[in-house]
C-alpha cells in the first residue's frame, strides 16, 4: 500500500504539468482544448525517439516541449484564422496528431527501459550526493519503516511542478499575461484596448500544449516507454485534476488556483490508486473511474451548496417565526395591561 501511494504521488507530480496546461486553456482562455490527448503523446514520442537515437534526454525533453507548443499553435490557427469551432479544432488536431505520433515513433511503442533518461539521470545524481540515505535516516527516526526506491523523482518533480507554477503565476501578471487572461474573459473589451485576440489565443494554446507535451515527455521517461495510446482520455484527467483541485483547495485567485491544480493532479492519482485496490475493479475500468470522479467533482459541490442554502433558509424561517411569535406575545401582554 505505501509503495502504491508513493507511486501515485510521483505520477501526480508528473501529470501536474499537464493539468497546469489544461488549466491554462480551459480556465484562463476559456477554450475547451482537446488537442491535449494528442500533444501529450507527441511530447512522449519526440522525447523517446530522440533518446533512443542517442540524444541527451534533457535536450530531447526541450524539443518535446517545443513540439507541443507548435501543435497547440495549430489548434489556435484552425480556430482563429480558419474560424472552426473550438471543440472541433481540438478534435481535428487530436486525430491528426495520432497519425503524426505514429510517424514520429515509426511504430506504436518505443521502449526506454535500457536508456538513460531525465529520470535515471536525476536519480543517479541524487544517489551520488547521498540524499536518499540522509532522508531515510531522518524518516526512520520518526518511526516510518517504509523505504521507496528513491526520493529523487518525487522531490524533483514536485519542485519542477511548483517552479512551473510560479513561472505561470508571474507570467499571468505581466502585461502579456493580463492580455491573455482578458482574452479568455472578455474578448470585446480586450479588442477595444488594442489586443490582438487571435494572437493571444494561438499563443495561449501553444503554451498550454507545451506544458502538456512536457508532461508527456516526462511520463514516457518515468514509465520507460512511449505508447501511441497513452494520451487517450488525457483531457478528462486534466479536467479532473483542475476541478478536484479547485473544489478541494479553492481558486480565489490565480496563485491559489495553480497550486490547487497541482494538488488536484496528485489527489486524482491517489483516488485512482485507491479505487483500483477495490477488489472487483480492473485496470480497464480506469477511464470509467475517471469519468465518475469528474462527474462527482462537478455535481457534488452544487448539491452541497443547495443543501446549505436550504438549511440557511430553514434557520431564517424559524428565527422569523419565533420573532413574530414573541412580538405577538408582547402585544398581547401589553393589551392585557391596558384592560
Amino acid at each position: 500500500m505505501p509503495t502504491a501511494i508513493f507511486g501515485s504521488l510521483e505520477a501526480g507530480a508528473l501529470y501536474a504539468l499537464m493539468a497546469l496546461g489544461v488549466y491554462l486553456s480551459f480556465r484562463i482562455l476559456d477554450f475547451p482544448d482537446l488537442t491535449v490527448d494528442g500533444s501529450f503523446v507527441t511530447g512522449g514520442a519526440v522525447a523517446a525517439v530522440m533518446i533512443v537515437n542517442g540524444q541527451d534526454p534533457f535536450f530531447a525533453t526541450l524539443v518535446a516541449i517545443a513540439t507541443g507548443f507548435i501543435a497547440g499553435c495549430f489548434t489556435g490557427l484552425l480556430h482563429t484564422k480558419g474560424k472552426i469551432n473550438a471543440l472541433l479544432s481540438g478534435i481535428l488536431m487530436m486525430i491528426a496528431l495520432y497519425s503524426i505520433n505514429l510517424r514520429i515513433m515509426g511504430k506504436s511503442n518505443v521502449s526506454l527501459l535500457s536508456e538513460e533518461t531525465v529520470i535515471t539521470k536525476l536519480s543517479d545524481f541524487w544517489k551520488g550526493i547521498g540524499m536518499d540515505d540522509a532522508i531515510q535516516s531522518v524518516i526512520s527516526t520518526i518511526g516510518i519503516g517504509f523505504i521507496p526506491k528513491t526520493w529523487a523523482v518525487l522531490i524533483f518533480m514536485v519542485l519542477l511542478a511548483f517552479a512551473v507554477k510560479f513561472l505561470l503565476d508571474w507570467f499571468l501578471k505581466t502585461e502579456l499575461g493580463l492580455a491573455l487572461r482578458a482574452t479568455g474573459n472578455n474578448e470585446t473589451m480586450v479588442r477595444s484596448f488594442s489586443v490582438d485576440t487571435d494572437f493571444y489565443k494561438i499563443f495561449g494554446l501553444g503554451l498550454s500544449n507545451a506544458l502538456v507535451a512536457f508532461s508527456g515527455a516526462l511520463v514516457a521517461q518515468y514509465n520507460g516507454f512511449s505508447d501511441v495510446g497513452m494520451g487517450i482520455g488525457m483531457i478528462v484527467i486534466g479536467l479532473a485534476s483542475v476541478i478536484i483541485g479547485e473544489a478541494v483547495f479553492g481558486a480565489k485567485n490565480i496563485i491559489r488556483a495553480t497550486a490547487a491544480v497541482i494538488g488536484g493532479a496528485i489527489l486524482y492519482r491517489i483516488i485512482v490508486t485507491m479505487a483500483l485496490r477495490v477488489e472487483f475493479l480492473e485496470t480497464g475500468d480506469m477511464k470509467l473511474i475517471t469519468a465518475l470522479i469528474v462527474i462527482c467533482a462537478l455535481v457534488l459541490p452544487k448539491v452541497i451548496d443547495r443543501q446549505r442554502e436550504k438549511q440557511r433558509k430553514r434557520k431564517r424561517l424559524k428565527a422569523m417565526s419565533k420573532a413574530s411569535a414573541e412580538g405577538r406575545g408582547q402585544n398581547l401582554a401589553a393589551a392585557k395591561t391596558d384592560l
Binding site: 505581466t174 502585461e175 493580463l178 472578455n186 480586450v190 477595444s192 484596448f193
Partner: protein
C-alpha cells in the same frame, strides 16, 4: 470650443454599408454618410431604431468594414486597419455595462490592460507600485471609492460602477477619438445621471474628440457642442455649435417631422 483652426481628427467620406446584400433581408444600413470631427468636437447622435447610428460607430471602430468609402483618423486612412490596431486611437464605451471590463480580473488589472493600449505589451508586470498610484489617482476622479478597492474583482461591482470604470478605462490614455454607444441606456436613472456627469467632466478635462450615440434627446442636447440626427442610414439634420445652443426637444421633433413628413415612430426616441 476648439473649432476655429482646429484640425480634422475624424473624417468619414461617402460611407456606404449594406447588410444581407442580395437577399430579401437586404438593408442599407448607412447610405452615403460624410462626417468630419475636428479636435475637441463632441457630437451627439440621435435617431430612431435602425437609423444606422450603431453601424456608424462600428465602422469607425473597425468592427465592421464599410462597403464603400473611407475612414480617416488624424489624417491617416484606417479603413482597412484591423479593429485591434485601430483601437490604439479609438476609445470605446459600450451600452452593456458588462462589455467594457473583464469581470474575473481585478480593478487594477483591468486598468493595466487599458493602460497598455498604446504600447507593445511585454514581460514587465502589468501592475507595479508606480502604476498603482497612478490608477488610484485616476479612480479618485470618479468619486465612487473604487480607489480603495483596487484588488476587488470587477464582477463584484454594480452596473453603474462598472460603466464608470469602463468610461475611465476608455479615456485616461487620451485616445484620439472617443466613441460612446448609448453608454447610459442600460443604467437606472440616477446611475445614468452620474455617468453622464462623469462623461461631461472627463471629455472636458482631456478635451477628447467624441461621438456619442444616445436615445435620450435631453441628454443629446445637454452634452456636446454639435448634434446630428440620423434616419434610414442618412444624416438628416445637423446642428453646428451655434445652432445647437438654441435647440430644444420640441424643435428637434419639429425638425424631424418637417424633413421626413411623418411622426417619429420609434417609441424609444420619444423617451425625452
Amino acid at each position: 470650443m476648439l473649432r476655429e483652426g482646429g484640425k480634422t481628427l475624424l473624417q468619414l467620406k461617402q460611407i456606404y454599408k449594406v447588410f444581407n446584400e442580395g437577399t430579401p433581408d437586404e438593408k442599407v444600413a448607412i447610405n452615403q454618410i460624410n462626417l468630419n470631427l475636428e479636435k475637441g468636437d463632441f457630437v451627439t447622435v440621435i435617431g430612431s431604431n435602425g437609423a444606422g447610428k450603431s453601424t456608424v460607430m462600428s465602422v469607425i471602430s473597425g468592427k465592421l468594414n464599410p462597403d464603400l468609402g473611407t475612414v480617416n483618423i488624424d489624417g491617416k486612412n484606417v479603413t482597412d486597419m484591423a479593429e485591434h490596431k485601430r483601437s490604439a486611437y479609438v476609445g470605446r464605451v459600450f451600452q452593456d455595462p458588462m462589455a467594457g471590463t473583464a469581470p474575473e480580473m481585478t480593478i487594477e488589472e483591468n486598468l493595466a490592460i487599458a493602460y497598455s493600449r498604446m504600447k507593445r505589451r511585454g514581460f514587465s508586470l502589468g501592475v507595479n507600485r508606480k502604476r498603482r498610484d497612478f490608477f488610484k489617482e485616476k479612480l479618485e476622479t470618479l468619486h465612487l471609492g473604487l480607489e480603495n478597492r483596487l484588488q476587488a474583482k470587477v464582477g463584484l461591482l454594480s452596473g453603474g460602477e462598472r460603466q464608470a470604470l469602463s468610461l475611465l478605462m476608455a479615456t485616461f490614455t487620451e485616445p484620439k477619438i472617443l466613441l460612446l454607444d448609448e453608454h447610459t441606456a442600460a443604467l437606472d436613472p440616477s446611475r445614468a445621471e452620474l455617468v453622464t456627469e462623469l462623461t461631461k467632466e472627463i471629455v472636458q478635462r482631456y478635451g477628447l474628440t467624441t461621438l456619442m450615440v444616445t436615445h435620450n434627446m435631453q441628454q443629446a442636447l445637454e452634452l456636446g457642442n454639435r448634434l446630428i440626427m440620423m434616419d434610414q442610414g442618412q444624416i438628416i439634420f445637423e446642428a453646428d455649435p451655434k445652432a445647437k445652443q438654441a435647440l430644444t426637444v420640441d424643435k428637434l421633433l419639429e425638425e424631424f417631422q418637417s424633413i421626413r413628413g411623418e411622426k417619429m415612430n420609434s417609441d424609444r426616441a420619444m423617451l425625452i
